[in-house]
């Protein structure tokens, strides 16, 4: 099941329905035949123009603004746990209630934080990232020059 169809051709979505394979040098908007192809030009120049565009810049900045701090924090959070387990095992043995100690709670919290980050990233990306990248992709694949 595909969430979106290619903007032209192969609406049935057969296995080989792609316009420009990622390993080819040509930008996709010059391949399908509907766009004005510019043979002989350095292939990726069109991509540099896209990258310089404001829309792409917004996508990139948004992606970075979520992923960079979250990845940094989760690595710190994980290694905080590892370091305490290695160098302060006594702290981990402090009882919370009965035989359930700090270490166990800390470990389970790692699970909880992992689930929470995964779900919130998915929600965030669907709301904040996907509409932008969809729009840009449709425009590019629609055959317009960026």
């Amino acid at each position: 099941m595909s969430l979106f169809q290619p903007s032209r051709g192969n609406a049935g979505g057969t296995a080989d329905s792609y316009q420009s394979p990622p390993w080819s040098d040509a930008p996709p908007w010059n391949v399908g035949g509907t766009a004005v192809a510019q043979p002989g030009r350095t292939s990726a120049i069109g991509y540099e123009a896209v990258r310089a565009s404001r829309d792409f810049w917004t996508i990139q900045r948004r992606y970075g603004s979520f992923v960079r701090p979250v990845c940094t924090l989760l690595i710190i959070w994980y290694f905080l746990f590892v370091m305490i387990a290695v160098f302060a095992p006594g702290f981990m043995r402090i009882s919370v209630f009965g035989d359930v100690n700090v270490g166990l709670c800390f470990g389970v919290l790692q699970f909880v934080s992992t689930f929470a980050i995964a779900v919130s990233y998915r929600r965030w990306a669907r709301r904040r990232l996907d509409p932008l990248s969809d729009r840009l992709r449709h425009r590019l694949e629609g055959g317009q020059e960026p």
């Binding site: 595909s2 996508i59 979250v70 043995r93 166990l104």
Partner: protein, 540 residues
Amino acid sequence: MTGLAATGAPFTVGTPALNFAIFAFFVVVTLVIAVSAAGRNRSTNDYYAGGRAFTGWQNGIAIGGDYLSAASFLGIAGIIAIYGYDGFLYSIGFLVGWLLVLMLISEPFRNTGRYTMADVLDLRLKAPPVRAAAAVSTLTVSLFYLLAQMAGAGALVSLLLGVKGSVGQDLVVAVVGILMIFYVLVGGMKGTTWVQIVKATILAASAAVTTLWVLSRAGFSLPSLLQHAAASSPAGTRVLGPGLEYGVNTTTKLDFISLALALVLGTAGLPHVLMRLYTVPNAREARRSVVWTIWLVGLFYLCTLLLGFGAMWLVGGKRILAAPGGGDSAVPLLADKLGGTLLFGIVAAVAFATILAVVAGLTITASASFAHDVYAGLVRHGEAEPVDEIRVARITAVVIGTIAVIGGIYAKGIEVAFLVGLAFAIAASANLPSILYSLFWQRFTERGALWSIYGGLITAVGLIVFSPVISGASSSLITDRHVNFAFFPLNNPAIVAIPVGFFLGWLGTVTDRRPADSARFARMQVRALTGVGAERGGRA
């Protein structure tokens, strides 16, 4: 149900005939699935990527099936049953690493690659030597991982089927190898994926049932389960905190930090996990599938925690260690204690099916890398006919299966989770730096990629060779204590090899006189974030 015979008599649990019947049932079911799901497998797209027709949740469960190997089910629970809390640290690393796959790898990877990791690097750098390097490291990591699985298979066999003696054990390992070669040859990626989905479901279900059973014995009270577990361990309540296995001295502590690094960074470099991202129609489904995997893997590891403490309580560390397979037999023994021979048979057969499925996933990855990267990409310069490429992939699958069988026969008796930890260390040092650099670093060059892949790979494998894993310790592969070339004190090389991989990638790049191709990086970035030009999938 038999007790441990102190005289060293053969250690059997359950009824071999019943175990064998359950196991045969699993094999037949999975074979039928593989054959009927296989389809035609005429194009490389079908054979390597299952036509890219799987939905996010299907692929998410299949990734879970690929990831939850014998190391997870048997290994982690076994370490918890013997060392307590320290085993829990394994599962946390195994889980947290998935967040990096989710946020940094899954979408860009799906958008910029086709079948293998080398495709991604090739889009960025367009250099045959880099493709070769990526293929070499993919094959090395896959083989290490395979070895771990086959070692687990060998250890399980005697417990499972009552096969005694070395020859019988080897024979069963060989049968496992032949079966999984068959899955891959007939099923291709589509068949293999369905096998993973079925296996993951059965595995999760049986883990959940056994966990509930353990909890019911403890009156559904976690504190009471922990109390019983601690009471039946010679270390007492110390098993409930960290340090029993790794807190002995500074070397073991460093070793643990090294392992923690390998676990959290290794997942994002595992070729058989990365290849699964290509079986969905687009990047959005790839993201969804990783979220599904995180739920499945996380809940499963919470179960293994309880299973481990349950085995500590109901079976006891001493009896587990005395069983063939050592710690890896904790869960099957626990099942025997709870539900008798039937549950034992089911759990053991599930464990076996797990190994089988993971081995199949690894084999298809390794064979795809050889056929797609080495044969089609390098030998035929991208001009190979799909039919020829698939034929090469099938031949490679047979060769790799054979190597795995032979390796498994030699590696039996080594702790599975430990071997998998080594595979993670190699994946994190050889693959991860070049993947991250190509996706996110503008200056990255061909030389940087070659230095980081080969540098990370050679450092990781080299340090393993000169570590106590191979020689110089009582648990070494070379049992002769006079042979000792272990000058690297740690068992896991990650703490050195991962920084080396990243550093060499940086050094090779900044000392490269040829500038990076900024147009290629622009294409990489635009494609990674928007999905322009990515190969679309078919319908499920």
